[in-house]
Symmetry: C2
Subunit: 500 residues, 2 copies
């Protein structure tokens, strides 16, 4: 590869070739996982776990092979031109290689198999609200993650090793300090927001929203903000997600509630934000770090930006209300103001993915504290439901009645992902900081958004975030894009502006 | 493996282990193909072709590896106990190995890539009825198949080599002779059937059949005949098919016409027949010949048996009419007799998959003659539409007005499958012969079918066909199950009984 046809080093090309081969496996493994969550019949789950384990091990072995280490060292010795794509890829490969070689392939296979078996067990446990069905799988997942942390090694505590899998450069202590400062302010904002929201009835938008109409409206808006349906699609799952399966193939999912269109709608807007990032990655670097998303925090900054900073603005509904009313008879007696009021309504609630902006980060902080206790060994899985419910009462003043709306609500643990949750709040901070900068640098953006035009904002994100892939570390990307390190300032300002 | 824990030979176990690895790739490649036909976005097609080529080559290389040849020879030298599963697997491996090693892996990759690119091109060409969009892809497919025949070698003509890919033991001359004898009798039956059908209006069942109701009825019947939805599903595609993706994962597809439920209904009944075969294969032998379907002709005998011998009987509709009327308001003024009459109506028509039983095999014979000419070099792709239309007039007395209902109607050529078509008629013959034997050996079957009970028939098929996998050659399987070699007698008797 190399820019402009330059050949940086023969070993560099060998790594790229290997990466392309790995990408063929990884993209296929992504399809196996996507299919597992969307369409796989129940009896096919056991064999699917074998497939996932096999391909997981395959990908791992191809990357940690001794020759790859040799090629990386060759390139380092040759000293690739600093500042270029090649040097950035090389830095990332070195980091990943040193990390991945600490994990035996058998461990990776075991983890993949456990994940693939835990997922359907979680879905069933959640549907029946029976923690016992999920408990042995979660015990396995926690045990594997504890082992993973030991294998990878860590600075201060095991959770560091896991967190870094999802957000390179982040540390548990750093997150804990940030969350510690954030929490009292969030509590204050949340309380004020709940008081101000008392005037807005909780059932303001309740009505009959046929799924077909929801699909049509969701698609219309996703297309308007720039999601390319020639290179993507939307399906239905228990837990919404976005999968950048392969070049030209980015898939979103959502779930539908017949009584309120906003659940699937904001779900799609959120996932479409992820999808725009995936579709904006430079295809010519596919398979290499420069062609890959950089971290979950940055990914989440994109989804939350479109969901909240664009989609929950009053101006958004001024533009889109007529189209929503066109699709939904239930909105006949409602107004743009009603939709905006419902979007800005705040109240403590059970489910993170449906939480309003004022309370959302408290869900994340709660989960961070629980995960840290699980990995640190202070909490055992058997005690999780009671522990969750006690903490939930402390955080939100709510009594969890069913584990389905408590510790079983979320898919991530069944995916084997511990250490992932903090990135949701890092994403919120990033979203606010990026959006504020975009509006400052391109002052026409607010007026454009109010008239349903999204090209300037999307163009800015493409330029500042998407096109870079993983060439910079997450924190460097934010600093380069916004001129300042990631902080909570813009996010808190945004929340205060919306709720106070 | 080995039955009862016997170890036939260490090399045998090595082959089984390799087969299991290959099955992990093959089942995943099946998902890539299934997804390509059902859900893959347009812009994802190019990369999908790369994935298919990669995995196709991978599977091929793993099987043709020198060590596999050595293991097979070891087992042959050891002389496995004849008559057992192991000996049957060994015979099949030897045959496949000698055949596969004639094809270079690069050739297999090229063919897979061409197939994966031809399929979406065909779908678009058919939708627009523009042969030109498909022509270059078909040229490539024909060229690849001609080369494949040369690489494999053949007895009398290149078509032999292709035919044997789908129906081991079949020869072009044998098929040509069979078809030659069959054709005049089919023409005679077809003409008489068309005359007798004049009293049945072509729009007897036309009406409004909502897709949701079609889905519900199709599923109800598929479940009743024994298709396990815990281990399978039904989706929508341009061309209906059944894919036995993996253990516990058998997927059917169909297409819906809003004006006539019978198109999707018989499509599902047909594909469910394939699905029952897949679900009846012995899972413990998965990945080896003993756990795999034996040929396309036998596969088709299962689908046609359920579609025609079960589903187009008058007794079938006597049982199912009330349920159909429950699902479809359009049948309110119709009767079981009307449904039976429509199912037994015959008239020359354009589309094979929707052709009635009396004319169906003529479509197959037509296609066989065209394919033979294409592969033999007497016909070039550029001349195909005109050639097709002329032959179609000869066979059916109908003028093809649009290539979409002529030479573009069918997916198989885009799948790179030439030599596949004759198996459709071999399947019809097998269906009739198997069904007649089942009813003779288990005389309660007709009365059970009339009351909607299918377990005895399915049990007989499981016992005589499904559980054997590929342990016998197709013709031996038929002979073992029915006591006679495959012939056209039962099929012709069935057609005469239905139509004359």
């Amino acid at each position: 590869m190399g820019q402009g046809g330059r050949m940086p080093h023969p070993s560099y090309d060998k790594i790229v070739e290997r990466c392309r081969e790995i990408a063929l496996y990884q993209s296929t493994a992504s399809l196996l996982r996507w299919d597992q969550e969307t369409f796989l019949p129940r009896r096919g789950q056991a064999y699917r776990a074998e497939q996932c384990a096999f391909f997981g091990g395959k990908v791992h072995r191809l990357f940690v092979a001794e020759e790859v280490g040799g090629w990386i060292a060759d390139c380092e010795d040759a000293g690739l031109e600093p500042g270029g794509v090649e040097a950035a890829n090389l830095r990332d490969w070195r980091w990943s290689y040193d990390r991945s070689t600490k994990l035996p392939a058998e461990f990776v296979e075991e983890a993949e198999r456990a994940r693939a078996l835990a997922m359907p067990a979680w879905a069933e446990a959640r549907a029946k609200s029976e923690f016992g069905l999920f408990r042995p799988h979660l015990e396995k997942v926690v045990e594997i993650n504890r082992r993973k942390a030991e294998l990878l090694g860590y600075g201060e505590e095991p959770y560091d090793a896991l967190l870094e899998s999802y957000e390179r450069g982040a540390t548990t202590a750093g997150v804990a300090e940030l969350f510690g400062r954030l929490k009292p302010q969030l509590v204050e904002i949340g309380q004020a927001a709940a008081r101000r929201s008392e005037a807005v009835p909780g059932d303001l938008l309740h009505g009959d929203y046929p799924e077909g109409a929801q699909r049509a409206f969701n698609r219309e808006v996703a297309e308007a903000i720039g999601f390319d349906f020639e290179g993507g699609r939307i399906d239905t799952t228990a837990h919404p997600f976005c999968s950048g399966l392969a070049p030209g193939d980015t898939r979103l999912t959502t779930r539908y509630e017949s009584g309120d269109f906003s659940s699937s709608f904001y779900g799609v807007l959120h996932e479409a934000g992820h999808g725009l990032y995936e579709q904006g990655l430079p295809e010519e670097h596919y398979g290499t770090p420069a062609g890959s998303s950089v971290s979950l925090g940055i990914h989440e900054s994109q989804s939350r930006l479109w969901e909240n900073h664009v989609g929950r603005q009053a101006a958004f509904w001024e533009h889109w209300f007529p189209r929503a009313a066109h699709h939904f008879d239930a909105l006949r007696d409602r107004s743009a103001d009603d939709l905006a009021a419902a979007a800005a309504r705040s109240q403590p609630s059970f489910i993170r993915v449906e939480a309003d902006e004022a309370t959302y980060d408290l869900h994340v902080i709660l989960r961070f504290e629980i995960e840290r206790a699980l990995i640190g060994g202070e909490l055992e899985v058997a005690d999780l439901p009671a522990y969750w419910n006690t903490k939930f009462r402390e955080f939100f003043g709510l009594e969890v009645k069913r584990d389905a709306e408590g510790c079983l609500q979320d898919i991530h643990w069944s995916m084997g992902a511990l250490g992932y949750f903090p990135t949701y709040t890092l994403g919120n901070l990033g979203a606010a900081q990026l959006f504020a900068t975009a509006c400052c640098e391109r002052p026409e953006i607010p007026a454009e958004l109010a008239s349903g035009q999204y090209a300037t904002l999307l163009g800015w994100l493409r330029e500042k975030v998407h096109r870079h892939g993983s060439q910079m570390l997450p924190q460097d990307l934010i600093e380069a894009a916004t001129g300042a390190p990631l902080s909570a300032d813009a996010h808190l300002e945004h929340l205060r502006g919306r709720y106070l």
